[in-house]
Symmetry: C2
Subunit: 193 residues, 2 copies
DNA sequence: TTCATTTCTTGCCAATTGGCAAGTCTTTTT
DNA sequence: AAAAAGACTTGCCAATTGGCAAGAAATGAA
């Protein structure tokens, strides 16, 4: 089994010995997702923490009016988990779905905690992932507030091109907080320039 | 020194023995803030983790156009910290300021880590705080997206009345992603009903 | 290949929100 | 208490965005 991408990711985020890395990686299991498969469905208590080695995923939920809203996109070489459901053991309000075929490595809540308990550096890694995801979310909220639809689009395409190469426009539209109609018009404006 | 509110808060979030609670609380220091004092200024590396026992605070930053944007409000009986700066030791992009006179208890990064290291239950508490803050942020983002200005206002006033009792309207307006002009008009509409 | 379904685009019009500037009200300072 | 500064409201008009529905394009199934 080829866990180098996982090991490199951990190493890049919180350098430690090869021995420790192997010990950590040992507890992850390879997992494949077909396009449109779910990694997490709302209502479930999330029990897997995923390193996405290849492919593209998205998270979505439904707003108070029952409209589907894409809340996040996950490119490869990132960890994927719903912090609230996974760590608090509560039922998830979010869905996480493979947008393309995906491959990754998962570890259960129980095993992850066991590693956190026994390997202080890995505990730091776990905390760093949580903090990074949080910071990314705050960044996103800031990039949404007080910005016109066109600015939000321009910002996303300049910082996250890969989203446009993988996701459907209607999902990008709801992620950007606009209708697919508006997104379509904005794209047209941009292509003129 | 009166640390009961801190001890109760920890106990409510992650029950443990009185002995452990006292050991934890011992490392917190009482701190007072005058109105408009800063708990954190942008550019600093945040070194304090705060339990706000009394008063009201807000976080703010500046968007890409240089406009001040309120990013969060902290009522009392909550922990206050900027996760990214505090845990990653990076310079903060946010300011956290006392909106009213405040009283709380702080602990330094070093001491907090020491406690995390030596008290596994407290480690859980720290993680729970992080996850809760994160979940609250996600909730907020969702409540903003695809909602009209009026709906965002209605939602905030029904779930967070205390914000309206403490904060200035222009700060609430930027928090809600609208101009103070619009907020003023919306309030007028509501008062008619 | 053809048919059916889904995704994306476009036109028309209405509703929402912002920008600006003047005016009122409140709080702070002297 | 008067003056000054700050906070909030309001009127007018323009720009942005959404709603709806029809059509075009792309994708998938038979």
């Amino acid at each position: 089994m080829q866990k180098e991408s996982l090991i490199n990711f951990i190493q890049n985020n919180l350098p430690t010995s090869r021995k420790t890395l192997d010990e950590i990686a040992e507890h992850f299991e390879e997992k494949f997702f077909a396009k449109n498969d779910y990694f997490l469905k709302e209502g479930q208590i999330s029990n897997d923490y995923l390193f996405l080695a290849d492919g593209f995923m998205r998270a979505f939920t439904f707003d108070m009016d029952g409209n589907e809203v894409t809340t996040y996109f996950y490119p490869k070489n990132r960890v994927v988990f719903e912090a609230s459901s996974f760590f608090m053991r509560t039922s998830s309000t979010e869905n996480i779905q493979a947008v393309t075929e995906c491959k990754g490595f998962t570890i259960t809540f129980e095993k992850l905690n066991m590693l956190f308990h026994s390997i202080p550096e890995f505990r730091e890694f776990g905390r760093a992932m949580l903090v990074k995801e949080f910071a990314a979310y705050k960044q996103r909220t800031l990039a949404m507030i007080n910005k016109s639809a066109e600015e939000r689009y321009a910002n996303l395409i300049s910082t996250n091109k890969e989203i446009f190469q993988n996701a459907q426009l209607k999902h990008i539209a709801s992620f950007l907080g606009m209708t697919d109609t508006s997104l379509s018009r904005i794209r047209k404006e941009f292509s003129k320039k």
